[in-house]
Symmetry: C2
DNA sequence: CGGTAATACTGCAAACTGCAGGGACGAGCT
DNA sequence: AGCTCGTCCCTGCAGTTTGCAGTATTACCG
């Protein structure tokens, strides 16, 4: 049986469609683009192109650059065809993985300080991603640098808008969560008090309490 | 060597801290809570409690409910202690996985219709999650239902605020992306035109183009 | 009396991750 | 001349996680 094409395989194939890359370059390119919508380990990114070769969707050639060898992968016509077919299949639903949010949900296992730290860490992590996207946009405008694939700029820029909207949503929530937690005497036992009930009522009406509700005391 | 505690193990342990559950109940409870911040397969959720038992963090007892047997897991003191220690460790950075966003980034592998469909599918999937959270909030206010663990309501409600902020951010972006794509003659070859440059400049200044910029024509 | 759904799991192959390891090269330091 | 440090360029392996198939009982509906 031939190996199965996963979404990760198609993601790598799509990168290969931009230009030929060595395994090493590919993992680093993926770190800059895939990371924001399809995060995968470096290890997998080294393995996928081999699978693509076995399936006839790519070819390898070994290059020797001064004693150091590298494997350069190139997409084939069959590979481009497979990509086109992928574009017409149903996408899988989006998934968010956040240990900090998980900690928040089960914050009564720890102290208020633990909760505060989890929020700080989330802010730090999101802030780092946020800055890196803003910097990337600045580099697209730079006269010397510019976009690595200028005629694809519309896709990566509108894609970046999605990231920044999500980061901003996270940051707004962190503020909100901090101001709520500030009035809790402890992580446990607050329950459905008047304020929490008011927030729940807004949510049940699909309204946002963030920035709308007066901060409590 | 004893098995290693992963974040998933702690997540299951935290659910077990609420009350004892059977494996079956646990997987269904997890589907309603973990899903939004730490999505894991049903299969894993059946395996984790066994590991917790091997580590002494939980105990099992077999119950016979009318010929049908079930394994009920209960947290131990050692388990509660482990939970407390988990609360003080560094959280891992948040990660988003969205095949629809991935498709958008590589939309030039397909047609404009493919792109539109990917956005429709994302809207559908996010809408479903969005509605399920709103419904959950309504059930917390219901006189008959209420919150399953009333004194934990503050945590799950503020947690739900995060979900809804993120869903709204997604939905706003989908609108924006659709209106941008509407003026593209094709998925490929638009590149850094005046409008995309204007958006890039806003992003590089960390401003949001969503709802700010006039819709094009 | 048969069909479908819900209850309540387990086994297994395949996908994916993290870490360790291993050479070769270039730059900078002593 | 020899040394370390960082970057280049991957591979092997053990362990985690997923998806699917399979199993067996009870409950409800027509």
């Amino acid at each position: 049986m031939p190996p199965k094409m996963t979404t990760s395989s198609y993601a790598v194939l799509a990168i290969l469609d931009l230009r030929p890359w060595s395994g090493y370059e590919l993992t680093h390119q993926a770190k800059r683009s895939l990371r924001y919508a399809w995060p995968r380990s470096e290890r997998l990114l080294y393995s996928e192109p081999k699978k693509l070769v076995r399936l006839g969707y790519a070819t390898v050639r070994k290059e020797e650059v001064g004693g150091r060898s590298r494997k350069v992968y190139t997409i084939t016509d069959a590979g481009r065809e497979a990509l086109g077919e992928w574009a017409s299949t149903r996408t899988s639903p989006p998934q968010l993985e956040s240990e900090a949010l998980l900690r928040f949900l089960f914050a009564d296992s720890g102290s208020l300080e633990d909760l505060g730290r989890a929020l700080d860490e989330l802010e730090e992590d999101v802030g780092e991603l946020h800055r890196s996207v803003v910097d990337l946009m600045a580099s697209y405008l730079d006269e010397d640098e510019g976009h690595p694939f200028p005629d694809r700029a519309h896709l990566s820029v509108v894609f970046a808008v999605a990231q920044l909207e999500l980061f901003r949503a996270f940051e707004r929530w962190i503020e909100f969560a901090r101001s709520e937690a500030a009035r809790w005497p402890d992580t446990a036992g607050v329950g459905m008090d008047d304020r929490i009930r008011a927030i729940t009522e807004m949510l049940a009406r699909d309204e946002s309490p963030v920035g709308e509700l007066e901060p409590s005391e």
